[in-house]
């Protein structure tokens, strides 16, 4: 019996898919698992794990948090970048923040990206003993953003100004704007009629705390920090371990990878490997 054309076509499609699934979906990936077990490749195919004293402490490629149970930085360790993966560096929940460049107004349940950047910068400034100020940030570490109300909506004289990310008991980061006294926001206030106006302030365009230190990575698992952020942390880490900053900087240099062929990729410092080397060379006493 001859099948109708449409049926035989779908039957051919079904068979083709099964044959290709066996070849491309079973044989090929298992062949690659086999190739991955060859000497020289197996450590990488398994996940580039690092052992210390017979215990696996992580992967060379996956970043970790070096904080205590309360989320405070452990002073004897170089700190990783902020992470949006789960509660931080969670490989079962990889993610970026996905917050946009004009995400500047805090809401009741979530600080804006701008405030997150400002708060991180201020906190790092305190830990490292440097100025944590940045453009568009208040001294208190939130986004410096005003809602400016005009008489005719978006135009006309200014009638009212509210500092959107600051609530009592803070002092507004500027007293007046265009001659009008700046108010603090209240949690249930509706400021949607005001024009959102970020205020640049006079912080330098290149702040002391580097860019990577205040921004979350794409994966939330970034194993590296910039050379600049490592340099910023050298004195604090050396102090906590009772070693000379020069010795700490030597280890930083050792775990800094440059660009392949001089132009591929960006230099970075592997934080886990660096901290392991510090533990081995200068264990924390006490």
């Amino acid at each position: 019996m001859r099948l109708p054309a449409w049926l035989s076509q779908h039957l051919a499609a079904f068979r083709a898919l099964i044959v290709l699934t066996v070849l491309l979906g079973i044989v090929y990936p298992l062949l690659m698992v086999g190739i991955g077990q060859l000497p020289g490749l197996s450590g990488r195919a398994d996940g580039s794990f690092i052992d210390r004293d017979g215990r696996t402490v992580g992967s060379r490629l996956i970043g970790q948090s070096f904080t205590d149970a309360d989320g405070k930085p452990l002073k004897q360790y170089f700190q990783s970048r902020p992470s949006a993966a789960g509660d931080g560096y969670d490989p079962t929940s990889t993610s970026a923040s996905n917050l946009g460049p004009e995400n500047v107004v805090d809401t009741a349940d979530k600080p804006s990206l701008l405030t997150q950047v400002c708060a991180r910068s201020r906190a790092i400034g305190e830990v490292e003993g440097v100025d944590g100020g940045r453009p568009y940030c208040t001294p208190g570490g939130v986004g410096a953003v005003l809602a400016v109300f005009h008489r005719d909506g978006a135009t006309g004289p200014v009638t009212r100004v509210v500092s959107l990310n600051e609530t009592a008991p803070a002092e507004p980061f500027v007293a007046t704007y265009d001659g009008v006294k700046v108010e603090l926001a209240t949690p249930d206030g509706d400021y949607s009629k005001g024009v959102v106006t970020p205020i640049r302030g006079d912080a330098p365009a290149h702040p002391v705390v580097p860019a990577d230190a205040v921004t979350a990575s794409g994966s939330g698992l970034d194993p590296h920090i910039s050379v600049a952020y490592a340099r910023l942390q050298v004195n604090r880490v050396a102090g906590a371990r009772g070693m000379s900053p020069a010795d700490a900087q030597k280890l930083v240099d050792k775990y800094t990878t440059g660009r392949v062929l001089g132009f591929v990729g960006e230099p970075g410092v592997n934080v886990l490997q660096l901290n392991l080397a510090l533990d081995a060379a200068h264990p924390v006493r006490g």
Binding site: W6, Q9, H10, F14, A16, L17, V19, L20, T21, L23, L24, I26, Y28, P29, M32, V33, I35, R44, G47, S48, V57, G58, Q64, S65, A85, Y89, P91, T94, A96, S97, N98, L99, P101, E102, N103, V104, L113, V117, R134, Y136, C137, G143, R200, A211, D212, V214, S217, G218, S219, D222, H224, R259, V260, G262, V264, G265, E266, G268, N275, D279
Partner: protein, 553 residues
């Protein structure tokens, strides 16, 4: 060397590598799709499938074969996800919910690889390697097969036959994609990409906390994800994840894998129509658009305009340290120029105008150089439209490669050009009209509109990247974006095959002094101009409400 200098050298090195493989790899693909010899293994496959490899198909049968194969693929991939909890290597995950399983099945079969799921917490290893990754191969092969069928339409005359879909499918998988995948996956493993069947390893970190480090057959899937311009990551973080893309040089390799088939296919076209200059012209058009876009996005990202990037001092939010801003921006441009949709940094956090470039790239219609196969057929449609516009200007019957572009041909080409803009703009409008759909936005204001516009642009053009803040695992988005992917893939394919059939039937028109020389710089410039003008006319109003409203002060 500064970051910017390194970034420019990085782009130049990619360009040189593409120029070097254009001829040898293009010729290899040409021989693959035109040879009349079948290997013994292939004959076994044809016998198992039950088709006669010697017979050729008319455009209608070819199209029905494509649709039958894709329909069966969607059905089986849907069922596969729905029963994954009963299968080996499921890692204890539940079955994927019906709306999400539909969305994912359509997404991978249409070469889109839009992901409303997070790989590491939804999909077992078996579904990833024997379900999703198989479609990475076959959907890529379908794209190339359809492009080759269209080129046969130009190359042949007075025939109804445009090729044999089953032979094209099997050969492209076995002779082109698989060998490159084996080599590429081995290189990726050497770079640190994992390839194992582990369900995860629990470790205790230096700070004393627990960390569960994931495993999986990643390298084998990663390579075809790029090579087939698919883009669906094994993990949620995609090519930003250190286990998918561990170093600067794996990043370079991934971009090369994304680009080299789409950029070499014009050589196949040139060889098949018997004039290599025609292929070079098409590759040139693709290159001009691509280089312009890559330079623009690098300039915008390095200038880091906007409030948060200025506060930070660089556009580093959502980027990995090992790639830096420039080589992330280059990836962002190339992944959207090629319908890949893999990301090594998160476009939602790009500067407003840098993010707009990624959208514009997709709005070009994925032609510069576009997805594997789909880029070539999309560009040939634009060439046909340009020939038509030029014909109108000088009052001659338009012809391209010796084939008359009559009313039937121009109808196919125009409908092709209208399909995706209609899906994008109507889809976005419907979503913006629904309070539930609007509540999926992660960012307020103009940026929220950009997220929705990006989602429909990405789905309808079969790209698959996202302004990923938007919550798309909802019944509305899973259904609507699934429909956009399906229609955005198969309507154009049917129209392209219809055009192929109509061209193949024609007798060639002899060349005369008045024939438009479609390999000369004048024509290249005209196609570029037509493409840009059509895209801007279509999308500028929508862009003005999203990224332009946000980024221009």
């Amino acid at each position: 060397m500064s970051s910017a200098e390194a970034g420019v050298t990085f782009i130049a090195s990619l360009l040189i590598a593409l120029v070097l493989v254009y001829k040898p790899f293009g010729d290899y693909m040409y021989r693959t799709v035109t040879s009349d010899r079948h290997s013994r293994a292939e004959r076994l496959v044809y016998r198992a499938v039950g088709v006669n490899p010697g017979g050729e198909q008319s455009w209608g049968v070819y199209a029905r074969s494509v649709l039958a194969f894709s329909a069966i693929s969607i059905l089986l991939l849907y069922l596969f996800q729905r029963v994954q909890n009963h299968l080996w290597l499921s890692l204890g995950f539940d079955p994927v919910a019906p709306d999400q399983a539909w969305n994912t099945a359509v997404s991978f079969v249409t070469n889109t690889n839009w992901q409303s799921y997070s790989g590491e917490s939804t999909m077992g290893h078996l579904v990833q390697m024997a379900g999703l990754a198989v479609q990475n191969f076959t959907s890529a092969a379908v794209g190339i097969a359809v492009a080759v069928a269209l080129v046969r339409g130009f190359a042949r005359s007075k025939t109804t036959e445009v090729g044999n879909f089953w032979v094209d499918l099997v050969r492209i998988c076995v002779r082109i994609l698989l060998p490159v995948a084996v080599i590429g996956a081995t290189l990726l493993i050497a770079g640190g990409v994992v390839q194992n069947l582990s369900g995860g390893t629990d470790v205790t970190t230096l700070a004393g906390a627990g960390q569960s480090i994931t495993g999986g057959p990643v390298a084998s899937q990663e390579v075809i994800k790029e090579l087939g311009t698919n883009g669906g990551g094994f993990y949620n973080a995609n090519s930003a994840h250190p286990f998918e893309n561990p170093t600067g040089w794996t990043n370079w390799l991934q971009l090369f894998l994304i680009l080299f088939i789409p950029f070499s296919l014009p050589r196949v076209f040139g060889r098949m129509v018997g004039d290599k200059r025609q292929g070079l012209a098409i590759a040139g058009i693709m290159a001009i658009l691509a280089i312009g876009s890559v330079i623009a996005i690098n300039a915008l990202q390095l200038a880091h305009g906007g409030t948060v990037p200025t506060a930070v001092g660089a556009a580093t939010e959502g980027t990995e340290t090992r790639f830096g801003v420039s080589q992330s921006a280059t990836f962002g441009a190339i992944t959207t120029l090629t319908s890949t949709g893999a990301v090594n940094s998160f476009h939602d956090s790009y500067t407003s105008l840098g993010g707009m470039i990624t959208m514009l790239n997709m709005m070009l219609g994925e032609v510069a150089p576009g997805g594997v196969g789909s880029g070539l057929y999309g560009m040939l449609i634009l060439a046909v439209i340009t020939v038509f516009v030029a014909g109108l200007m000088v009052g001659r019957t338009p012809e391209y490669l010796g084939k008359k572009i009559g009313s039937r041909e121009i109808k196919f080409a125009s409908l092709y050009l209208l399909t995706t803009p209609a899906l994008v703009l109507v889809g976005t409008a419907i979503a913006m009209g629904s309070a539930t759909a609007r509540s999926s936005m992660a960012n307020p204001g103009a940026h929220g509109l950009s997220e929705v516009l990006y989602a429909f642009t990405s789905a309808s053009n079969n790209n698959g990247s996202a302004f990923a803040g938007i919550s798309v695992n909802t019944t509305f988005y899973n259904t609507a974006l699934g429909l956009c992917m399906l229609l955005g893939r198969f309507l154009p394919i049917i129209l392209v095959l219809g055009l192929a059939g109509s061209l193949a039937r024609q007798a060639p028109v002899p060349q005369s002094a008045g024939t438009l020389r479609t390999y000369q710089p004048l024509f290249i410039g005209m196609v570029v101009a037509v493409t840009v003008v059509v895209v801007l006319l279509t999308y500028l109003p929508a862009l003005a409400l999203g990224p332009l409203a946000e980024g221009v002060r």
